[in-house]
């Protein structure tokens, strides 16, 4: 009996020791030395592995920043400036501030405005529908409404509005990770500077058809009438292929263009109605002034060209 116990204990201890020695040796021999800063950078990152930075995941991002040691090209959109500041501290370099971005939906062709011209019955995926044909409404540029973007979003920051058939972005949750933008076959989604006080102005349409055709396809399509572009004091609005586009870098958020659009399809987020009203009045006054000035100049010119005969 005692011999059995002894042998058992001895042999198990022996195996244990042998295994310990082997493990120790292996761990020393095959140890991979990794820059310990990588782990520290990774610790401050959000660790969502969304790929919004352009790297395959947070670990890869950490490796990339540690390797380059420069923060100008790499930015974590999810963590934003606070996280990047921490990363900079870990690396002991200067943080590069970047304006926060947010995704915007550049289509307002809801069910109400954009009538169905056929019924899609294929696999419920925008990518598949977009490959098959131009869409189930007349508009070949608009949202297909099957929510590939919502599926792509890792942050539950989007949902499909059942009343309009368009995706909606939840401002507080969107991290500008770019996943929805990549998933949209019609390029409806776009990253836009989040703006001061969360205020943004953009044209919610991508239709490049001629005005009359575009309006037949969708009641709120941009017809490229250029009224907004004329009203803009900062030359932030350009008309290209019958479509108005606002350059967010030039836009000063004066909101004077909003009510020039006859289908009200320039979206201004988080503006109070009073502010919009003011902007509109301001613009009208300015235009009135300019008109008067032009008239005066014209009168002046007429006067100069036809000098009254002196007696």
């Amino acid at each position: 009996m005692s011999a059995t116990v002894l042998y058992t204990v001895l042999s198990l201890t022996g195996i244990g020791l042998l295994a310990a020695v082997v493990l120790y040796y292996v761990s020393k021999k095959f140890q991979v030395t990794e820059d310990e800063r990588i782990a520290r950078v990774e610790a401050v990152l959000p660790n969502t592995n969304c790929g919004g930075c352009g790297q395959p995941g947070c670990h890869a991002f950490a490796e990339a920043v540690v390797k380059s040691g420069d923060l100008s090209a790499l930015h974590c959109p999810v963590g934003g400036n606070p996280v990047m500041k921490q990363v900079a501290e870990v690396l002991g370099v200067k943080a590069v501030e970047k304006d926060p971005y947010i995704a915007v939906v550049r289509c307002s062709g809801s069910f109400e405005y954009r009538k169905k011209t056929n019924v899609y019955d294929g696999a419920p995926s925008c990518a598949i529908a977009a490959q098959l044909y131009s869409g189930d409404t007349g508009c070949a540029y608009g949202c297909l409404g099957m929510g590939d973007c919502v599926v792509a979003c890792d942050f539950e920051a989007m949902y499909m509005d059942e009343k309009t058939g368009l995706p909606v972005i939840i401002e507080d949750k969107c991290t500008a990770c770019n996943a929805c933008v990549k998933s949209c076959p019609k390029d409806i989604l776009e990253l836009w500077p989040k703006g001061k006080k969360n205020q943004r102005i953009y044209v919610a349409c991508l239709n490049e058809e001629k005005g009359s055709t575009a309006r037949k396809e969708c009641a709120v399509a941009c017809s490229g009438c250029a009224k907004c572009a004329e009203a803009c004091r900062y030359e932030a609005i350009t008309i290209d292929h019958n479509l108005a586009t606002i350059d967010p870098d030039k836009c000063k958020l004066c909101a004077e263009c909003i009510d020039t659009c006859d289908v009200r399809n320039i979206v201004a987020t988080n503006f109070s109605p009073e502010k919009l009203q003011q902007a509109s009045e301001h613009r009208q006054k300015r235009e009135e002034r300019e008109r008067r000035k032009r008239e005066e100049e014209k009168a002046q010119a007429t006067a100069n060209n036809n000098p009254e005969p002196t007696v």
């Binding site: 294929g122 990518a127 098959l132 044909y133």
Partner: protein, 446 residues
């Protein structure tokens, strides 16, 4: 004397295949001329390759057969006016592809043909042109593959350097259910088609041609057999009825038991395949100097009043064909340009008939609506059906997971999009939908 076609063993391809009901409702409807429409809209991209360049302007008067868009490069094709009249608006319109493409509108006035075109029905058997002249004539006439793919035919006639072609296969299979355009053409123009085959043989420099016809077209097999009794070079090969036998690769496997290596062309195994419709168009182009301005289109469907086969001018709106066949049935859920397996559903009945439009099919909503989807049960029916030996169920999963690299390794690009997998799937899974998506993504990988 050579063996009669009926004594021959029926052949078919080895991998996969399905048997949808063939529903050839219009098989006994003789070819009829569709009345000239009021206007035609002719897309200038009806072929694979570079788009043609429009050479007319709004307001110009054109005759039938006049070039309205000139080919750009060798892999491209001429587009001709299919009706005489005045050129209308030239703009992007929806065509049967489901997207907007540039098209030329002609307001039809009279039926005034170019004088150089021989419009008589006399059979011209004597082939006087040389190989190069044939290629040039076919190119000039804008003939493209009329089975649907739309590859410019002249490019397929010119034997690539360093390759030898030993056999010409004529595709008279028409394996798509419902369609009868090729069948009727074979019945009514057998001798023209045979001359077309001889033209192709001369151009390719081959001494052997095989016309493959499926066994459900007995009358056509018999007819060709009769006309070819004395011919030592051209033979008829009856084939078992099985979809997708009309696929180029499947037909080559069925007739000659050769396999086209992945990513290569039939010419690499010494074969060129032409469709009977194309062969007839080549006959007309070479012997009659007639460009491709009209084609046979089957208008059919279970609820269609008069399933028909029409001679239709290219660019005719689809609605004209439907009206001529007795109108759009009440039950219609889908209108398909082409056959039910590979055709494209169209959303707009003003879409014009193109060179590759072989049929207009009206399917009842009840029959075509996609049924409830279940989980994949791994029954293996898609594998059994796939004529390319792929694993469609796996490709679907990989596509959904966005695994393009793996899909590529699973040979997703070999898929011929015949639709057999989606057709047989007992779980009604949209297999081909996702495989197509995957193919697009994999092509972008390169």
């Amino acid at each position: 004397m050579k063996n009669r076609a009926f004594d021959k063993e029926l052949k078919t391809f080895r991998l996969g295949g399905v048997h949808p009901q063939d529903n050839k409702l219009s098989a006994s409807a003789p070819l009829a001329q569709l009345p000239l429409p009021k206007q035609v809209t002719i897309p200038i991209i009806q072929h694979i390759g570079a788009p043609a360049k429009v050479v007319v302007q709004r307001g110009d008067t054109v005759k039938v057969g006049q070039v309205i868009a000139q080919h750009e490069g060798f892999i491209s094709s001429n587009i001709h006016a299919s009706c005489s009249g005045r050129i209308g608006i030239i703009e992007e319109v929806m065509d049967s592809s489901g997207f907007k493409h540039l098209a030329v509108n002609i307001r039809v006035k009279g039926d005034d043909w170019l004088e150089t075109i021989d419009r008589t029905d006399t059979l011209v058997e004597e082939i006087s042109l040389s190989r190069d002249e044939i290629v040039a004539r076919v190119m000039e006439a804008g003939v493209v593959g009329m089975g649907g793919a739309g590859f410019p035919s002249h490019a397929k006639i010119k034997v690539p350097e360093g390759k030898t072609i030993d056999t010409l296969i004529i595709n008279g299979v028409e394996c798509e259910p419902y369609l009868t355009a090729d069948h009727r053409l074979m019945l009514e123009k057998p001798r023209e088609i045979i001359v077309g085959v001889r033209i192709l043989m001369r151009a390719l420099g081959v001494s052997r041609a095989i016309i493959g016809i499926e066994d459900n077209k007995h009358d056509a097999i018999e007819l060709f057999d009769e006309w070819l009794r004395e011919d030592k070079q051209i033979e008829v090969q009856p084939l078992e009825v099985q979809y997708p036998q009309g696929g180029e690769k499947q037909l080559i496997q069925a007739v000659l038991d050769r396999e086209v290596p992945s990513g290569r062309l039939p010419a690499d195994v010494g074969v060129i395949v032409h469709n009977v419709g194309t062969t007839f168009a080549i006959y007309e182009a070479v012997q009659k100097n007639k460009p491709l301005v009209e084609r046979v289109v089957t208008v059919t469907g279970k609820d269609v009043k008069q399933p028909s086969n029409f001679w239709v001018r290219i660019g005719t709106p689809v609605i004209e064909l439907i009206t001529a066949a007795g109108g759009l049935p009440e039950s219609t859920g889908k209108v398909v340009s082409g056959g039910p397996m590979m055709g494209k559903a169209i959303a707009d009945l003003e879409v014009p008939v193109a060179k590759g439009t072989s049929g207009i099919l009206m399917i009842a909503q009840a029959e075509t609506k996609r049924a409830e989807e279940y989980n994949c049960v791994h029954c293996g029916k898609c594998i059994e059906a796939c004529p390319m030996g792929l694993e469609p169920y796996r490709l679907l999963l990989l596509s959904k997971a966005g695994q393009s690299e793996k899909s590529k390794r699973e040979n997703v690009l070999d898929c011929i999009e015949c639709g057999s997998c989606s057709f047989v799937c007992p779980s009604n899974r949209p297999i081909l939908d996702y495989i197509r998506l995957s193919k697009t993504k994999v092509k972008k990988l390169k």
